[in-house]
Amino acid sequence: MAPEIETMPIWVDFAGGLQTLFSNKPNHMISLPIFNPSDFSPANVGFLISHLVKNHLKHPQTEFFVQEDGHLTPGILVLINDVDWELEGEEEYELKPGDNVIFVSTMHGG
C-alpha cells in the first residue's frame, strides 16, 4: 500500500472547448497533493498543470493543453479565483485549499 498523501481540494474548470480533453466535464474537484513530490515544494499552479496532465487528461491530443516542455499551450488563459493569473504570479502561485482555477481556450471563430 502506498503511503497516504495529504491533499487539498482545488476547483478546476475548463471552458472554451478544453473540457473535451477532460472527460467532457467542465467542472472538476481535484484532490491535489499539498506538496510537489518531486521537490517537496508547496503545490503551485505549475504543479497543478502537471498533475492534471498525468491524472486527468484522457484525450490523446495533449498538445491542445500542454506543450512538450510541460508548459501550457499558448492561447490558453488561466484565471485564479476569477482573476487573470498574470496578476497572481502565474505558475508560481501557491494554491490554497478551495482555490478555483479556470483554464479557457482562446476562441477565434465568428
Binding site: G17, G75, E86, M107, G109, G110
Partner: protein, 317 residues
C-alpha cells in the same frame, strides 16, 4: 454645429424613444449614438446580430468590412443575410437588411478583407471597432491598429458551444502609456496565438447559432454602453484610471458556455477580471513605439500570418 445640442427629428424620436426613456440614456446619450461612427469587421455570425442592434439603436455611421459572399451554410446563424442573397457579398447583403431595418444611419460597405495594408486607413475613420472576425491573424492586426489609432475595441469570438467577449483599449489610450492602470489590448490578454495545429474555425469545428448570436448581441450592448457614456472620446482618458468613476473600464473577459445537456447554471456565464495594460506588451507597452508602428504594419512588420502560423487544423475540440 457639432450635433450634440440639436433637437431630435420626429422620425428619430419615433424610432428611438423606447430606448431614450430608459434611465441612464436620454436625449444626450441618443445624440452621442447618432454622432458616432462604428466599424464592424466581419459580417458573419457575430457581425449580423451585432449590426442589427447597433443600427437599430441609431448609431449614425456604420462601416462593415468583409470579403466573403453569402453561402447556404451561413444562414443558420448569420441572420442578417437571406437565401435570395446567396452569392452576394456579405457586406452588401447585410447592409440591404440594415437599411430596411433603419434607413437613418449612413452605411459604408467595404467588400474586401481587412489587411495590414488597408486597416489603418479604414479604422481611422471610426470611433469604435467591433471585431467580429474568425481568425487569430486578423484579431491581432485589428487590435494593433486600434492601439496605434487610439480606438476602443469590442472583441468577441465563438466556436461550437462557447463564446467570449472583451472590451479592449477602452478608454482609448495612447500607445506606450503604462504607468497607471490603463486598459489592455488584445496582445496584453492573449500574448501568443495558439499553435496553428490547434486553431479551429467554425467551418471545421461547427457552431451553434444561438451561441454566436448571443455573443454578437452582447457586443452591440457593450458598444452602446461605451458610446452612450462618451467613453470612446479621447477626452475620456483619465489621468489616473484608478480614480476614474467609470466602472466600465475594468477589463473583463465574459465567457459563455452553452450546454446542450444542462439548464443554465452558475458557470454558464463567467465574468473574469483581466490584468491592465502590460509594461512589456509588444503593441501597447512601454517600448512598443519601437516595436509597433503604423508604417511597420503597412509594410508587413509584424508578419501576422507567420506569427499565427499556417492553419492545418485537426478537428477535435
Amino acid at each position: 454645429h457639432n450635433g450634440f445640442s440639436r433637437r431630435l427629428t420626429d422620425e428619430e424620436f419615433d424610432r428611438y424613444s423606447r430606448q431614450m426613456i430608459v434611465p441612464g440614456m436620454g436625449r444626450e446619450a441618443q445624440l452621442r449614438l447618432i454622432n458616432s461612427k462604428v466599424l464592424i469587421i466581419g459580417g458573419g455570425g457575430l457581425g449580423c446580430p451585432a449590426a442589427q442592434y447597433v443600427a437599430g439603436a441609431g448609431v449614425g455611421t456604420i462601416g462593415i468590412i468583409d470579403g466573403d459572399v453569402v453561402e447556404p451554410s451561413n444562414l443558420h446563424r448569420q441572420v442578417g443575410h437571406a437565401t435570395s442573397r446567396i452569392g452576394m457579398k456579405k457586406v452588401d447583403s447585410l447592409i440591404t437588411h440594415l437599411r430596411d431595418l433603419n434607413p437613418l444611419p449612413t452605411y459604408t460597405p467595404y467588400t474586401y478583407p481587412i489587411s495590414p495594408e488597408n486597416a489603418a486607413d479604414i479604422i481611422s475613420q471610426y470611433d469604435l471597432v467591433l471585431d467580429c472576425t474568425d481568425n487569430p491573424a486578423t484579431r491581432y492586426l485589428i487590435s494593433d491598429v486600434c492601439v496605434l489609432l487610439c480606438k476602443p475595441l469590442v472583441s468577441a469570438a465563438s466556436i461550437q458551444k462557447s463564446g467570449q467577449l472583451i472590451v479592449l483599449n477602452c478608454p482609448p489610450t495612447p500607445q506606450g502609456k503604462v504607468d497607471k492602470k490603463y486598459p489592455p489590448c488584445y496582445r496584453c490578454c492573449f500574448r501568443k496565438p495558439p499553435p496553428a495545429n490547434t486553431q479551429l474555425s467554425c467551418g471545421e469545428a461547427g457552431i451553434m447559432g444561438p451561441v454566436v448570436g448571443l455573443m454578437g448581441v452582447a457586443q452591440a450592448g457593450e458598444a452602446i454602453k461605451i458610446l452612450a457614456s462618451a467613453l470612446h472620446l479621447p477626452s475620456s482618458i483619465p489621468s489616473n484610471p484608478e480614480d476614474d468613476p467609470h466602472n466600465l473600464i475594468q477589463p473583463t473577459l465574459l465567457i459563455y458556455s452553452y450546454d446542450l445537456t444542462a439548464a443554465p447554471g452558475p458557470f454558464t456565464f463567467r465574468a473574469l477580471k483581466m490584468a491592465p495594460r502590460k509594461k512589456n506588451c509588444f503593441a501597447c507597452g512601454e517600448n512598443s513605439p519601437q516595436t509597433l508602428t503604423l508604417e511597420g504594419v503597412k509594410s508587413g512588420n509584424p508578419n501576422y500570418i507567420q506569427f499565427c502560423g499556417i492553419q492545418t487544423p485537426k478537428i477535435v475540440l
